[in-house]
Symmetry: C14
Subunit: 94 residues, 14 copies
């Protein structure tokens, strides 16, 4: 197995694992936040505005963690410095 | 095992794992959100509109995480830069 | 192990894992949504229409995640670009 | 290990895993839905009709996920394109 | 390891795994459904008929998932197309 | 490792795994059903007959899943088609 | 590793796993059933007879699953057809 | 690795695993039964006799599962038919 | 690796695993029993005697399971028949 | 496998694992914090200001843990001292 | 790897695993017992004496399980019969 | 694989694992603390000051554990004594 | 791999695992005990003295389990009899 | 792989695992303690002093377990006796 194969393989698998695992905690966390928002609105309809605002800030915070994972995955696929390092070497004297 | 096999194999498995694992947290999270929406509507039918709107925004946020996973899977299958890099090499002097 | 075997094996296993794991979260999530719908209808029969509508929208959202998994599985079995790439190579000079 | 063995082995194991894992979430989800239906009927016998109808729609949705798994398993056993591709090759010059 | 051993081994293990894992979710799901049926009958003895009917429909749905697993196991043991493909080959020039 | 060893080993392990795992869900499920039956009888002694009948039907359904596992195990030990296929081959030219 | 070692090793390990895993679900299930029986008797001492009878039937059902595992273990140790098949072969031309 | 080492190693590990895993479910199950017995006696001291009797029958049932595991372990250590089969062979022509 | 190393290694690891895993269920089970005893005494101080007696019988039952594990571990370390079998062989012609 | 491949592969996988796992606990923790904030605002709307402030401080603390993970991932991808050490060596006399 | 290395390595790892795993169940069990003791004293301060006595007996029982693990670990480190057997052999003709 | 590759690889993976796993418990623990702080402020707004102070001390304690992990990760990346030991050796006579 | 490497490696890893795993149960157990102590003091401030005393005895018992793990780790690092046995051998004729 | 690589690699990974795993139980335990402290202060503001003091003692006990892990990690990185033993050997005749 030459360098190219190894680093390519690792990048492909790593980007998938990162996004896949990264969706577990954030998906559940957002589900839980939305769940409580609905219950809170049902209990206290007069505070609808404040509740919705707080919910959106919270969702944005959690979504940001999911987006970190997405960014890492995208970097590993499209702007991978290890891969870029490997390619010229292969082209030159692979 | 040549480069092509390795990267192909990794891409196939990675895209499946990404989508598969990515559905656990989001499926449960959406289920939990819908569950509470129904209970909230039953408790406070007058707020049906606000509850449904909040539910849809929440579901959209969670769905977006599932869609990140779907996008990663699709990129790995149909627009895989590692694979595209490997093919000409094989065609040329495989 | 030649390219064909490896990519074929990976595709078969990946499609099964994707659908299999993909059914865990969605199956549980839908079960939870239906569960609450029934309890909500029992508590508030007058809102039967709204509850059923919300339930169906929610189930459709969750089902869509299960269908993403099904689509990935189907693509890996019947429209696998890696496999299509490998076959001519084998036919030509396998 | 020749192509035939590998792809055959992978198909056999994959079809079993797919159906096996696919039954966990759906079995539990349906059990939970039925559980609540019974409790709802006991609480609100007058809505028996609506509850049963909603239960059946819900069960059908969950069952459909189990059936996706069953379909994938069946395709992998009886209409496996990878296996069909491999057999003539073996017959020709195995 | 020749083809026969590999595919035989895989089939044996796969059929056992499929049925074994397939019993977890369905066993628990049925147990939960029966559990609630008993509680519902204790709470509302007058609806005994409707509750029992609903329970049986629900159990039949869950049992059907267990039976899918059983069918896959049986097919893998007694009507395995991969195995049938392998045997003549072995007989011919094993 | 010749065919006989491999298939024998696989059959032994598979039959044990199938029964072992198969007892987890069914054992817990039956325990839960019995648990609730006792509580229901304590709450509603007048419905003793109906509760016991329903319990026995439910236990029979769950037991049937355990018996599927037992049947698979027994087939793998005493009526294993893969093993029967392997033995003459060994006797002939082992 | 000759046939004898492999099948012997597999049988030893399989029988232990089968009984070991088989005790998890049944042990917990019986514990749960006994737990509820005690609570039920404390709540409704007048139904002591019916509760004890139902408990014993339930425990017998669960115990039967544990005994299936025990039987499989015993068969694998003392009446193992694979082992009996292997021994003469070894004696003859081991 | 000769037969003796393999079967000896397998027996040692198997007996330990069998007893070790076998203690999880039964230990928890008995703990739960005792736990409830104490609570039941505290709630209904007049039924002390019946509760203690039922508790002991239940503990005996659960203990019997732990003893099955102990028996299997002991058989594997001191009356192992596979080991007995192997020893003369080694003595004869080891 | 000669016989002595293998069986020695297996015995060492097995005895540790047996006792280690064996402490999980029993430790938790006893903790739960003690927990409830304290609560029961707090609720019903007049039954202190009967509660303590029942607690000690229960703890003795659970402790006995832990002691089975301890016995297996000790046998594997100090009275291991497999090890005793191996040593003379090594001394003779190791 | 030369140094470059190994360290490259390790870095790619490590950065993905670090971010992926790092999102589980923080995602769930933030979800739980937001969940309670919404319930608290619904119960005590007059303290909206204090609650929101406390929520944001808490989210910031939890987010900081997620950012530690992100920083480690980024360092491993773009400022990896091990990689920088390896490259000149390869360029010089790889 | 000679005998000494293997048995030494196994002993080191086994003693660590035994104590490590052995602390999980006992640590949690003791925590649970102490937890309830505190609650019981708060509810029934007059029974402080009896509660503390019962707590200490219970903790001693659970601690004894932890000490079994500690003893096994210590025996494996300082009085290991397998190690003592191996050393002279090495000194003699290592 | 020379020393440099091995230790480099180990350091990269170790630093990622340490931070990744280290975020699970601390993230959940902080989430739980914040959650309760919000509920406590909602219940007892007059004690806002004391509650916030206690919360911050508690968060600082938990954060310190996360920072231990971060420190270990940073040391392994930027001040790794093993790596520093290895480099001159490689430079000298690699 | 010579003896020194193997036993050194095993000791390093074992000491880390022992302390790492050993902190899970004890950390959670102590957390649970402290948790309840605070609640008990809040409910019954007059018994502060007795509660604190009982808490400290309980924490000492749990801490002792953590210290057993710490002792094992320290012995494996600084007073390892296996390591001390190996070193002279290496110095003499390594 | 020479001694230096192996022991270095093991030390790096062990120190990371020890701290990583060591933060799970302690992080959750402290979170739980803080959580209850806040609730207790909200319920009984007059006992603020005693509650805070008890909380800090408890946190110190739990933190001490985390610090044991940190100490082990630090010893493995900066005062590793195995590493110190290995280096001169390598310098002398590596």
């Amino acid at each position: 197995m030459d360098s190219m194969s190894i680093i390519g393989m690792a990048s492909v698998i790593a980007s998938a694992i990162c996004m896949g695992i990264g969706s577990i905690g954030t998906g559940l966390g957002e589900g839980r936040a939305v769940q409580q928002a609905l219950m809170a609105i049902a209990q206290q309809p007069d505070e609808k505005g404040a509740l919705t605002r707080t919910l959106f800030v919270g969702l944005a915070m959690i979504e940001s963690i999911a987006i970190y994972c997405f960014v890492i995955s995208m970097i590993l696929i499209f702007a991978n410095p290890f891969w870029n390092q490997v390619i010229p070497k292969v082209v030159a004297g692979g």
